[in-house]
């Protein structure tokens, strides 16, 4: 799961946190997707209100980007790549602003009762930028490109393992039948990743990229600027803007200055410390709930954390609100040592864990480690939140008599990664099942990044059963039990989830916050000036 394109792993892994990047999969809302056309062009965002008017040229300032920039729909890395990707290409289904599945190029994606055979009905009337209609053949070839078992691209890690390529077939122009090797009830969520855009014949031509989204390719220079024009034959409501420019920014200050000077109209990933500057300058700030987290990771197979009492004591030491206030400037929501807060199955009913130093001390005493000393590994390459959070944790631990020695490593992600007894890591917005697989399963069962060396057969069985369960209620109940095990015994300290903060100029209308990706999933189609 979650194998990125060859050679891009280190970079993308680090950037995923900030860019809310590749989430491998998620549980969808309904498996029955009713075609409902495009969303309404809402009027939120830019304070102006009033009716939106067509025309104009919007320049978006994207964070990062460089010589490695690509227009390849299936291997975007930076925020600039993702913004381009979402405005050029579309997958079969797509996550909406509430992190729920909506139909895009498919009108419906339905499983059989055993979740083995999935039928994709293509949208009628959708055309590529070159005028050709979108067929099931295009969709299948695009999926094959992404899920090539020999070299799966970023969205294809899981797909390449579960799709039965021999039995799957294109039934007719409008129907695709995907057959799986094992039941997988959330295949639809894998098909909704923005890294699975449908392209003609599944072939990417860098000199003339063709997609189906509301903007068509005009020009592209890696690390610099790319331009797009409105696609008038878009199957949904066409964009308001005539032209969209996506400009790479290597430096945060340059980006913010450009917005203040009116040279760009939107920017993603506004640094928290500049929020007040932007507001003071009359520009707008777009804040959205998110599911990204920077946990402390305790190895459950090594002393002292092999004793569940010690793990629980550590979880009781954290002052979660203080963590959010100090490391995220308040732009975060409370964590409860469970991940995937945006999943419909998130166990909201379990009591919120709060700092309780007395209980922590007594747990440590009963574990026989009243004068606990631990070394906490951290590093700048985890993200800007990591080191301040580690230092703050060391402070908070003092009050419970625990001596935490913070060791900053450069780089953190070296050969020792996944061997640290006590460390940090970052994770991106994902739903529960894919996150549980990649983060808590043994490596040979898909747990590529199991930092805590968590190996719990009961938990695993529940997750595997849920992945095969088509009935949503039953699935949620299985997942609730799985989460409860981790809540009581797990090796993560999850103190909070980061909010997404972006900014836009005073002339911009139509932006809505999204839990999935920055700037309302880079939804420039709905934006007007």
């Amino acid at each position: 799961m979650n194998q990125n394109s060859p050679g891009h792993w280190n970079i993308s892994r680090r950037q995923l946190l900030r860019y809310s990047g590749v989430s491998a999969a998620a549980i969808g809302g309904s498996s029955f997707l009713v075609a409902c056309g495009g969303d309404d062009g809402g009027g939120g965002g830019g304070g102006g209100g009033g009716p939106q008017s067509s025309g104009g040229r919007l320049v978006h300032g994207a964070t990062g980007g460089g010589a490695k920039d690509t227009l390849d729909p299936h291997q975007p890395v930076t925020a600039a790549d993702i913004a381009r990707c979402l405005n050029l290409y579309e997958p079969l289904l797509i996550w909406d602003n509430n992190y729920e599945l909506q139909p895009a190029l498919a009108e419906s994606v339905e499983p059989s009762k055993d979740a083995i055979t999935w039928t994709v009905k293509m949208r009628s009337g959708a055309t590529f930028h070159n005028g050709a209609p979108v067929t099931a053949e295009d969709a299948w070839l695009s999926i094959r490109r992404v899920a090539d078992p020999k070299a799966p691209l970023s969205a294809g890690g899981q797909l390449s393992q579960i799709i039965d390529f021999q039995s799957s077939k294109v039934v007719d122009d409008a129907t695709l039948q995907i057959v799986l090797k094992t039941p997988y009830a959330i295949l639809d969520s894998l098909l909704a990743e923005y890294t699975l855009g449908i392209i003609p014949g599944g072939e990417f031509d860098p000199s003339k990229p063709v997609g189906t989204a509301a903007f068509a390719y005009q020009s592209f220079e890696a690390g610099k600027t790319s331009t797009f024009t409105r696609f008038d034959d878009y199957w949904g409501e066409s964009a308001f803007l005539d032209e969209l420019v996506i400009q790479d920014f290597a430096d945060d200050n340059a980006k913010v200055n450009a917005l203040q000077a009116g040279q760009i109209q939107t920017l993603d990933n506004l640094p928290y410390n500049l929020v007040d500057t932007i507001k003071g300058a009359g520009a707008g700030v777009l804040t959205a709930e998110g599911g990204q987290w920077v946990p402390f990771t305790m190895r459950v197979d090594q002393a002292p954390f092999n004793d569940v009492k010690v793990r629980q004591a550590m979880r009781l030491i954290v002052d979660r609100q203080a963590m959010i206030d100090q490391t995220l400037s308040g732009y975060g929501s409370l964590g409860n040592d469970m991940y995937a807060p945006l999943d419909v199955a998130y166990a909201k009913d379990l009591p919120q864990r709060e700092q309780d130093l007395d209980q922590a001390k007594s747990l440590l005493a009963s574990a026989g480690v009243s004068d606990l000393q631990v070394e906490l590994f951290t590093g700048d390459d985890i993200g800007s939140v990591a080191v301040p959070a580690a230092n703050l944790f060391a402070e908070q631990a003092k009050a419970a008599g625990v001596d935490v020695k913070v060791t900053k490593k450069t780089p953190f992600y070296d050969d020792d990664y996944l061997s640290y007894t006590f460390a940090q890591d970052f994770w991106n917005t994902r739903n529960y099942i894919p996150q549980a697989v990649v983060g808590t399963f043994p490596p040979d069962q898909g747990g590529t990044y199991n930092e805590t060396h968590w190996d719990n057969a009961d938990h695993r069985d529940l997750v595997n059963a849920a992945a095969k369960e088509v009935d949503e209620t039953k699935r949620a109940s299985l997942l609730h039990d799985a989460q409860e095990i981790e809540y009581n015994e797990g090796g993560y300290i999850i103190w909070g989830f980061r909010q997404q903060v972006d900014a836009y100029g005073s002339t911009v209308q139509g932006l809505e916050p999204s839990k999935y990706l920055p700037l309302g999933n880079y939804g420039f189609r709905k934006v007007s000036l």
């Binding site: 060859p6 050679g7 792993w9 280190n10 970079i11 320049v59 460089g66 010589a67 490695k68 920039d69 690509t70 070299a151 005009q218 020009s219 592209f220 220079e221 890696a222 690390g223 610099k224 600027t225 790319s226 331009t227 400009q247 920014f249 290597a250 430096d251 200050n253 340059a254 200055n257 450009a258 203040q260 000077a261 009116g262 040279q263 760009i264 300058a281 992600y413 990664y417």
Partner: protein
């Protein structure tokens, strides 16, 4: 220079002897300087190559955790970098490429290096040259005014301001300029350089103003202070005194007798500053989002793009060497004693 003080007009007096021997001597001298420049460049190439090679295995750095698993990509990168060959073979392959104008292929995106850096090199050169064009007259002008009012109030004020400016890092200057001229106070100039696809930064001249101004403010104080010091020394000399006693008007004294003799140290410090600008524009380019070599170098280092880093380092080194060579030639041409020494 003061030894020549008895000569009424140093420049007119000792023109180099015209003729074959003089020309040949100049030719030999130039050839020697060029040879030295090439030698320096060659030594630099060894240093650059060894330094980039000593950074460890670039393939491991690029692939990270995939190093063990992604064999195909590893082999492709190793073949491209010639990892199997000895370091000497690799060096000469690379040097051979450089000499034939082939800078290699970028590891980040598999495109030829030169195609990617050529426009950045031009952009940076234009930025530096514009800054130099604005900076040289300004620095000399300030120095002349300052030395004219030597140790009077205007001089004190100017020197204090220059010293203060010299102490401020250029990115601070840049941030201040941006907040004054493009974001907070006025909105006259663009805050960053946005280049249309296929265009150049100077397509919108206004966007060049702040980057150039920042660089000018960064280097003018140094140049101006050194030229002023030299001017003061010359103004105190006997021959300037004699010129004044002969009744030559003060502006002429300043222009012909003083400034011309103070120009050589000026050229040296200008060249040093220009060379510094060639490599030191990174901060300014980043701040103003200017598409030049500095930004590209940072990006390439981040990507472990060895070929790009090598090419950019060589180009920056080349600019250093060329600027110094030009400065030396100019200095010699403007120093009669040295000129005579060569041609005779």
């Amino acid at each position: 220079m003061t030894q020549e003080a008895t000569l009424p007009d140093p420049l007119a007096e000792v023109a180099p002897p015209r003729g074959r021997s003089g020309g040949a001597a100049w030719g030999i001298w130039l050839a020697r300087r060029l040879g030295l420049a090439v030698l320096t460049l060659w030594l630099v190439s060894i240093v650059v190559f060894l330094a980039t090679a000593a950074l460890g295995d670039p393939v491991r750095a690029i692939l990270g955790r995939d190093y063990g698993t992604n064999v195909a990509r590893r082999e492709q990168l190793e073949a491209q970098l010639g990892i199997g060959d000895s370091i000497i073979t690799r060096y000469f392959d690379w040097l051979g490429g450089l000499l034939t104008g082939d800078f290699g292929t970028s590891l980040a995106n598999q495109q030829p290096v030169w195609g990617q850096i050529s426009s950045s090199v031009v952009n940076s050169l234009v930025l530096v040259l514009l800054s130099a064009l604005a900076m040289v007259p300004l620095a000399f002008g300030i120095a002349m005014i300052s030395s004219h009012y030597r140790r009077k109030r205007p001089d004190t004020v100017i020197q204090t301001i220059l010293l203060a400016l010299a102490g401020v890092p250029e990115f601070v200057t840049g941030i201040l300029l941006v907040s004054v001229f493009s974001t907070t106070v006025f909105k006259i100039f663009p805050a960053v350089t946005l280049v249309a696809p296929g265009g150049a930064p100077w397509d919108e001249p206004k966007s060049m103003v702040l980057p150039v101004l920042t660089l000018v403010i960064a280097v003018t104080p140094y140049v101006s202070r050194i030229v002023r010091a030299t001017l003061l020394e010359v103004l105190d000399s006997d021959y300037v005194e004699l010129a004044r006693l002969k009744g030559i008007p003060e502006p002429v004294v300043m222009r012909k007798h003083a400034l011309l003799n103070a120009i050589v140290p000026g050229i040296q410090v200008v060249s040093l500053q220009l060379a510094w600008l060639a490599g030191g524009v990174v901060l300014v380019e980043t701040l103003f989002q200017y598409p030049g070599v500095g930004r590209q170098l940072v990006d390439s280092v981040r990507n472990h793009d060895v070929a790009m880093v090598q090419a950019l380092s060589m180009i920056i080194a080349g600019v250093y060497i060329v600027v110094n060579l030009v400065a030396d030639v100019l200095s010699i041409l403007l120093t009669p004693r040295a000129r005579t020494a060569i041609s005779s």
